[in-house]
């Protein structure tokens, strides 16, 4: 009797694993989960800033990914497709909790300019001299100081590479609001990173 060969999940690329998964192969899907779980979890952590919620929503995203595999046509990478799903899961949760709405008054103050609008632009790289892991850590700390609304536009535009109109559509806001939130968030992050840098030197 010829033994049935187990597919080589480890060396298979994402395209092959997705194809097997579409055929109902949960082991192949598990390999995809293992391969991309940290990135998906990271997206959820950036948005929710809570480990339990990030675990919960990243898992929910994987479930949706499994259920919607037939929709994945390879227009983007599988990882990109999954990050879109987890971001949508998080956005839905934030809407449910109405956190964005509760922050709307604060945001309006921020979007009118606040202190940062008056600050001189920093031309120097605020992360110069820092190692990569330190840079990411500093950026993450700074992101944690933004409101969820501002963090979301940074996530979608800077990390996911979405255009303004796509960010607007995803979040349900106008392009003008995307622009003002992005402007404020960038300036705020720059000032935070500058502050953190000075703290480190001292």
């Amino acid at each position: 009797m010829t033994a049935t060969l187990r597919p080589d999940y480890l060396s298979a690329d994402d395209v092959q694993l997705v194809a097997w998964s579409k055929g109902g192969d949960t082991d192949a899907f598990e390999q995809l989960v293992h391969r991309h779980r940290d990135k998906i979890y990271a997206r959820a952590m950036i948005m929710m800033r809570n480990e339990d919620e990030a675990m919960d929503f990243s898992q929910e995203a994987w479930v949706k990914g499994w259920q919607r595999l037939h929709q994945f046509q390879g227009d983007s990478s599988f990882a990109t497709w999954m990050t879109r799903i987890v971001i949508n899961v998080c956005l839905d949760e934030l809407r449910k909790k109405k956190r964005m709405r509760a922050e709307s008054i604060e945001e309006m103050d921020e979007e009118s300019g606040g202190v940062e609008r008056q600050m001189p632009v920093q031309l120097t790289n605020p992360t110069e001299g820092l190692e990569s892991t330190e840079v990411r850590k500093r950026i993450d700390e700074a992101l944690g100081k933004l409101s969820e609304a501002h963090r979301t536009v940074i996530m979608l535009h800077e990390f996911e590479g979405l255009e303004y109109k796509d960010v607007a559509k995803r979040v349900g806001i106008s392009i003008g609001t995307v622009m003002s939130r992005l402007f404020y968030a960038r300036r705020r992050l720059a000032s935070l990173l500058q502050g953190l840098k000075r703290e480190r030197i001292q």
């Binding site: 964005m100 709307s104 349900g172 106008s174």
Partner: protein
């Protein structure tokens, strides 16, 4: 604020007033108002009136700060024919089912002016006649946390001349 595009999702109501007509001496007017619910200011800087306080009280279950009336139209619905009222980019049609029910048909009006039926709701006519309010609405698809509503009531009587 792109409330205009959200109005695409606004309702077409069917107005019917036969039994109203008999109670009101032949004429039965219903008022349909397209209302925008928001915590922000008037959309697109337009000069829209606020929803009257009495009706705003009917919306107390919602938590928006502001309710702007985008369009208001009174329609005489006496008779058996469906009457159409235009609320900007929405169309309103009402029909009496003959069973004490007001049938309200909701339409989406596209850019070419074509009506696309969204759904149908019914309301006991007696409720409206006794001062009740029918509200059909939905979340804005374009603007976070805003919503559109079509508020149907009996139109107030015309002032005596």
């Amino acid at each position: 604020m792109k409330f205009l595009s959200a109005r695409k999702a606004v309702v077409g109501l069917l107005l019917v007033g036969f039994s109203f007509a008999s109670a009101w001496g032949g004429e039965c007017k219903l008022r349909a108002q397209l209302v925008w619910g928001t915590d922000g200011e008037k959309p697109d800087g337009k000069d829209l009136p606020e929803l009257e306080a009495k009706l705003k009280g009917k919306l107390s279950h919602f938590r928006w700060k502001n309710y702007w009336v985008v369009k208001s139209e009174d329609t005489d619905v006496s008779g058996v024919e469906a009457k159409k009222a235009t609320l900007g980019k929405c169309a309103v049609e009402l029909r009496d089912t003959g069973k004490g029910q007001l049938e309200v048909k909701l339409f989406n009006v596209d850019k070419d002016g074509k009506l696309k039926h969204l759904r149908t709701v019914t309301e006991p006519m007696e409720k409206l006649q006794k001062g009740g309010t029918l509200i059909v609405g939905g979340d804005s698809k374009d603007t976070w946390n805003d919503a559109w509503m079509v508020v149907i009531t009996v139109a107030p009587p015309a002032p005596a001349r």
